[in-house]
């Protein structure tokens, strides 16, 4: 094969590769289809750590039952229609007679026997005089769908106590999830 032939073959290969890439991208684009975003809120999750508690890190735990299947059913969807889930808001609150002043910081995690624990956010320090705090949520979130589709998973709050306390720690959490769904 002369030089001209070689150049032509290379050019043909390059054009074919380009066509393959374009076709692949088009297939990917059309297979994804259109999506919609829904918001699922789970309120009043009770978290507790039994006293006496010592200064430093203490763990409060609660169970989140998102009941996503039932919620999706009302929209004629199933969990298979859910492409991605993200925690978008995590709010903790205590009764109005108390506040978060006894705590220096909190770290929020999700845990389950079937899925690896994930840190969902942290607030450090906690502003003074608050009955209700918003925990900034983590940018990096993986597998959240698999927590939420389960009948229940553990919500774990590591709370850094400023001083020893004979009382138990009791608080509530509201969680807001954003669900990206196939239409």
């Amino acid at each position: 094969m002369d030089d001209k032939g070689k150049v032509l073959t290379l050019l043909l290969a390059a054009v074919l590769s380009l066509v393959c890439i374009v076709v692949g991208l088009l297939l990917l684009f059309f297979s994804c289809g259109s999506t919609q975003t829904e918001v699922l809120t789970v309120t009043g999750i009770e978290l507790s750590a039994e006293g006496p508690l010592f200064s430093g890190s203490n763990t409060a735990q609660g169970i989140c039952r998102a009941e996503m299947d039932a919620w999706l059913k009302t929209m004629g969807k199933t969990s298979a229609d859910v492409r991605e889930v993200r925690l978008t808001r995590a709010q903790m609150y205590v009764p109005d007679t108390t506040n978060f002043d006894g705590l220096a910081s909190v770290t929020l995690m999700f845990a389950s026997d079937n899925i690896d624990m994930q840190t969902m956010g942290a607030l450090n320090p906690i502003p003074a005089g608050q009955h209700r705090i918003d925990i900034p949520v983590a940018h990096s979130q993986q597998q959240i769908k698999w927590f939420v589709v389960q009948p229940a998973f553990s919500v774990v709050l590591d709370a850094d106590l400023k001083a020893d306390s004979d009382a138990s720690l009791g608080l509530k959490a509201d969680l807001e999830f954003s669900l990206l769904m196939h239409q």
Binding site: S105, D113, H139
Partner: protein, 149 residues
């Protein structure tokens, strides 16, 4: 009927024994460098360890309590190191070994696969590795006796 009851009792006692073996990991442990103490606790059926004491609790640069400044997720870099869970998701697999977990090194922000082997009631071999277990590093942790507060 009596045989069934006997069988049930046998299974029950075996299960109780296995549970007691698994829970031997619970408690307070100190890595060989003595820089921190880690409390292992159980959530659901899995074991997790968090830093509860630091030899140098404050960052010498800021003179503030140390935070997880090397976390790959920028949004979590303000998380306090004291209370940080560095051992996660360990499952007891028998014969004094806990597997399927990970260990986090706050000094470089890396997470490694990890196996914990109990050498005796007060000594752990903590082996962190990437990919292949043979290519890793083992650290020896000692149990700390908790004095009543």
């Amino acid at each position: 009927m009596r045989t069934l009851l006997l069988l049930f009792c046998c299974f029950f006692s075996i299960a109780l024994h296995a549970q007691a073996e698994a829970d031997k990991l619970l408690g307070l442990w100190e890595p060989s460098n003595g820089k921190a103490r880690v409390k292992v606790e159980k959530i659901g059926a899995k074991y997790f360890g968090k830093i509860v004491w630091l030899r140098e609790p404050n960052d010498p640069q800021t003179n503030q309590p140390k935070v997880d400044k090397n976390n790959p997720d920028e949004s979590l870099r303000n998380t306090p190191l004291k209370g940080y869970r560095i051992l996660k998701d360990f499952v007891y697999s028998g014969k004094g070994e806990w597997t399927d977990g990970v260990i986090y090194d706050p000094e470089n922000g890396s997470t490694y696969s990890c196996v914990i082997k109990m050498k005796d009631d007060n000594t752990l071999d903590i082996r962190g590795y990437i990919g292949v277990k043979a290519l890793g590093r083992t650290d020896v942790w000692k149990r700390m006796q908790v004095t009543g507060k």
